[in-house]
């Protein structure tokens, strides 16, 4: 296909770029990701008022950040998948499986200690995650099996294989160097886990917002047929997205292993739901086409902050599940409203309508 530019201009552009920038800022403020930030800040404010000393302890924020790190790595991949209109239920099992094979590999290299062993473990974990992700993507894109069924299948299969490989007993082979630097390491006082997760999140934001890969991910989720018509290889894009998410689940498996010093085989049966809830609370539409990695991070921070705050206040932490459940339903409800208002269109002024509508909701 020849690449060229549209026919050259003869008339000057009427609209100046400046109001456009303003419009961009305006729509950014109106975006659901920003509203969810306000919700999060409100939660922080409430806990801060009720228990200022304990809540604003730097160690407390450190704990919240660490607890979100591994979920955030999974959340980046899941955001991409949900933007394509798909879903991934398999990530918790892929995480466990990757941890298991990585631990087994590290146990067999250099007597389970040292950087060589660590490097082998990292490569094995990432490769394992990529392989599961590619399998998911291939089945979704080529075999046309619904993503929910494909990943429900690999959810069971990956966990089952992990149990077959270990006999159901958690392995603990992790090189000390990896635990000391990654699992419990600090760089300038910031936990390495948080740094790794932040780098993945920033890379995810750039990839989604700025790259052609991110644009095509949203386009495929928005209208796959339109993508095929303009020559985008939709199947390949889907496989890449699922492979990316799988690779990140592999990385999360490694992080999990270095933090818990265990493969935590039984500990991730609900991780997928936690992550999907975070992605959805963060404003990514389950119907595809739209979403942000930044929103996902906030969507994951809200449950973590609630759990933390309830513990500090002495409220039963189980209440966190109740509140998060309500948030989840509210997030999807607001997505429904948003989709209804944008498809209503009418009069070519949806933006104004949209913004009034959104700000009204913010006030309530």
């Amino acid at each position: 296909m020849s690449v060229d530019t549209p026919t050259k201009p003869t008339a000057p552009a009427e609209t100046a770029p400046r109001p456009n920038m303003m419009a961009r800022v305006g729509s950014a403020l109106g975006a659901q990701a920003m509203q969810i930030v306000l919700v999060w800040l409100a939660i922080i404010a409430i806990f801060a008022v009720l228990s200022p000393d304990a809540f604003f302890d730097p160690n407390n924020f450190r704990n919240i950040a660490i607890s979100v790190s591994i979920l955030a790595v999974l959340g980046v991949g899941t955001t991409f998948i949900i933007i394509t209109g798909g879903i991934d239920l398999s990530m918790g099992s892929v995480l466990v499986f990757s941890g298991v094979v990585s631990s087994m590999a590290m146990g067999n290299v250099g007597e389970g200690q040292g950087w060589l062993s660590a490097l082998v473990g990292i490569i094995v974990a990432l490769t394992s995650g990529l392989a599961w992700g590619t399998l998911n993507g291939f089945l979704v894109a080529k075999a046309k099996v619904p993503a929910m069924i494909v990943t429900l299948g690999t959810f069971g299969a990956a966990l089952g294989l992990a149990q077959v490989l270990t006999g159901g007993i958690d392995r603990r082979d992790v090189p000390d160097v990896l635990v000391d630097t990654v699992g419990f390491g600090d760089v300038f006082g910031i936990p390495t886990l948080v740094i790794v997760a932040s780098l993945i999140v920033i890379a995810g934001i750039i990839l989604l917002k700025r790259s052609r890969f991110g644009l095509h991910t949203a386009a495929v989720g928005s209208n796959a047929e339109a993508c095929r018509r303009v020559g985008i290889n939709v199947d390949r894009q889907l496989i890449k997205v699922y492979a990316l998410a799988g690779g990140l689940a592999g990385l999360a498996g490694l992080l999990n292993l270095t933090f818990f010093r265990s493969t935590t085989i039984a500990g991730h049966s609900l991780t997928n739901l936690d992550v999907i809830a975070g992605v959805v609370i963060g404003g990514t539409s389950l119907f595809g086409g739209i979403g942000t990695v930044f929103g996902t991070v906030i969507g994951l921070l809200i449950p973590a902050t609630l759990r933390n705050g309830f513990v500090i206040l002495g409220v039963q932490p189980y209440w966190q599940q109740v509140v998060v459940g309500a948030f989840l339903v509210a997030a999807v409800y607001s997505d429904q409203l948003r989709r209804a208002s944008s498809s209503r269109g009418g009069g070519g002024r949806p933006n104004l309508f949209h913004r009034l509508f959104n700000s009204k909701r913010k006030d309530s």
Partner: protein, 255 residues
């Protein structure tokens, strides 16, 4: 007009099982001309356009582009020759903005390593895309909002302008005014005239006789899988077109 056709179909036959959608259909369009393609439901218009756009392949018959015989395996083959098509579903990605839709699948990449890493020349695309829309008078007011939130007329204009921005030679418009109100229809018809003025051949598929007569230079009438008449818009009338479509005027016209 004695200009050579830029795109021509001869004796196109297309069967779907026992249904003969096209039975030796001919078609031609000249540069800078609006050719309307009309016919009753089932006359074979859509099948013919799909074949001309590369979305379907004929059982037999020939296509000539700029005088040379060609075969189109897929829509990309057609697009690489500067032939664009706007189907009725518009094929817009609703969550993307007009500029992103215009460049979808044809993004301008940054030069060098950044480009290979997948980064695009976003501001360049914004500028050129904006000018291309304005140039066609596509009256797109909001370049950064998702097209899903825009009116039917706006979306139609965006889809047509996108095709026009890339079409160097021929553009097919399948029922571009079918779902539009009076004002929006006028906008799209104006858009068609501007595309024509750029020297691009426009093929307009429509059920609306008045619109066809208003904007086209020639009208090709299809019936039962064949082109049964080619009429100059200046010299014909709605009655004559309907007659040719329904067969009431059989024998009077030769294709």
């Amino acid at each position: 007009m004695s200009i050579e056709p830029i795109y021509e179909a001869r004796n196109i036959v297309r069967n779907f099982g026992s249904v003969q959608a096209l039975q030796g259909a001919n078609f031609d369009v000249r540069p800078g001309e609006v050719s309307a393609l009309i016919g009753d439901n089932g006359a074979g218009k859509s099948t013919l356009v799909r074949i001309l756009a590369g979305a379907d392949q004929p059982n037999s018959g020939e296509l000539f582009f700029q005088g040379q015989p060609i075969s189109l395996g897929n829509p990309t083959d057609a697009r690489s020759r500067g032939i664009e098509t706007v189907f009725q579903d518009l094929a817009l990605a609703n969550h993307l903005d007009p500029i992103q839709n215009m460049y979808l699948g044809r993004e301008l990449m940054k030069p060098g390593l950044l480009g290979r890493m997948g980064f695009m020349q976003t501001s360049e695309m914004r500028e050129v895309g904006r000018v291309a829309f304005n140039d066609l008078g596509a009256t797109v007011r909001n370049f950064t909002g998702p097209v899903g939130g825009m009116s039917g007329g706006q979306r139609q204009a965006i889809a047509v302008a996108r095709a026009a921005a890339w079409a160097k030679n021929v553009i097919f418009l399948d029922e571009p005014t079918a779902a539009l109100g009076v004002v929006q229809t006028k906008g799209v018809l104006d858009l068609i005239r501007r595309i024509k003025d750029k020297g691009i051949a426009v093929v307009l598929i429509s059920h609306s006789m008045p619109h066809v007569l208003e904007v086209s230079d020639r009208v090709h009438v299809m019936r039962q899988g064949k082109r049964v008449a080619v009429l100059n818009s200046k010299d014909t009338s709605v009655e004559e077109l309907v007659g040719a479509m329904t067969g009431a005027l059989d024998g009077k016209e030769a294709a």
